[in-house]
Amino acid sequence: MADLLDRIHDLYDELERHRVMLSFKGILAPELITALLGLVERKLVGMEPDPKARKRVFNVVVECLQNLYHHHGPMGVEGDGPQSAKDPHGVVMIARTDTGYSVLTGNLMAGQDVDQLKGHLDRINSLDAGGLREWYRAKLADGTYSAAGGGGLGMIDIARRSGGKLEYAFVPYDKDSSFFSLNVNVNT
C-alpha cells in the first residue's frame, strides 16, 4: 500500500519535472485520439504564442498518435483479453523542453519489421530539409504506399515538421516483438 502511494507521488514528481503536458498509456481508439488532440490543441493555444509552432507540434502529434493507431504490433504479457492483441495500444507523452516540445511515443511491434523501420528512419535522418521534401513528393506521386497505412509518408512528414533528427530505440520484448520508442523534438 505505502509502496503504491509512493509510486503515484514519484509519478507526479516525474511528470512535473519533465514538464509533461499530456501522457497516456492504453488503447488508442479513434474517439480517444480525437479527445487527446482536442486537449493538446487547447493546451498549445494557452502556452505557445507562435501559431506556426503550434501547427507544427499539432501536426506531429496527429501523425505520432495515428502511427500508434495504424502500426501497433503483437501484444505481450498484457494481451490476455481476446481482442487486446488487435487493439492499437501504446504510450504517448508530450513535454515542454528548453527548445520547444518533445513528442514521445512507444509501442510494441513485430520483431521481424524492426530492420525495415530502422532503415527507413536512418534514411530520413540522413536527409536535409530539401531531401526530405523531395522524397515526400516522390512517395506521394508514385502511390506505392497505402493511404490506410500511411506508413512511410508519416515519418517523413514528422521529420519535416520537427526540423531535427528523429531519436529512436528498439528494445527486444519477447521472441516475436520489440518495443519501439520514438522521440520527436519540435524546436520552436
Binding site: 480525437t34 501547427k55 501536426n59 496527429v62 495504424h70 506521394l140 493511404a147
Partner: protein, 130 residues
C-alpha cells in the same frame, strides 16, 4: 445530379460540391485515421460529375491541417479532375493557406508539381472550418 454536402467535424473537413456551379469546397481539417473511408464518397461523386461536368470547375481547398493519410486521398481528388480538364473544360484548384503557414503553401506547391491542373495559391488570414 445532387450536390454533396458534409458538415465539418473535429477530424474531417466541411465538404460542399455543387454540380451546377462547378464549385467544389473542402474546408477545415482533414485528419481522420481512415481517410479512404471518408474520401470514397467524394471520389465517387467527382467520377459521376465528370460525365457531365460544368464548363467551369473550381476546387477550393482551404485546410488548416491534413494528415499524411489524407494527403494521398486529396491527391486522388485532384487526379479525378485531370480528365475533366483534358476533355476541354476549365478546371482550377484554389489552394488556400494561412499567411503564417509556409508548410501549407509548400504542400500546395508539392501537389501542383505532381498534378496536371492549374493551381492558384491564395493567402488568407485564417481558415474557417464551417
Amino acid at each position: 445530379m445532387e450536390p454533396l454536402y458534409l458538415e465539418g467535424s473535429p477530424k474531417t473537413p466541411h465538404v460542399h460540391f455543387d454540380p451546377v456551379t462547378g464549385m467544389l469546397e473542402l474546408k477545415g481539417r482533414s485528419i481522420p485515421e481512415n481517410s479512404v473511408d471518408f474520401y470514397k464518397p467524394l471520389i465517387d461523386w467527382i467520377d459521376k460529375y465528370g460525365r457531365q461536368p460544368s464548363a467551369k470547375t473550381s476546387l477550393h481547398v482551404q485546410l488548416e491541417y491534413f494528415n499524411t493519410s489524407s494527403s494521398k486521398c486529396i491527391l486522388d481528388v485532384f487526379k479525378r479532375l485531370e480528365p475533366i480538364r483534358a476533355a476541354g473544360n476549365e478546371v482550377t484548384v484554389l489552394w488556400h493557406y494561412e499567411a503564417d503557414d509556409e508548410d501549407m503553401l509548400e504542400a500546395g506547391e508539392d501537389y501542383s508539381g505532381i498534378i496536371n491542373l492549374p493551381f492558384k495559391m491564395i493567402q488568407i488570414a485564417e481558415v474557417n472550418g464551417d
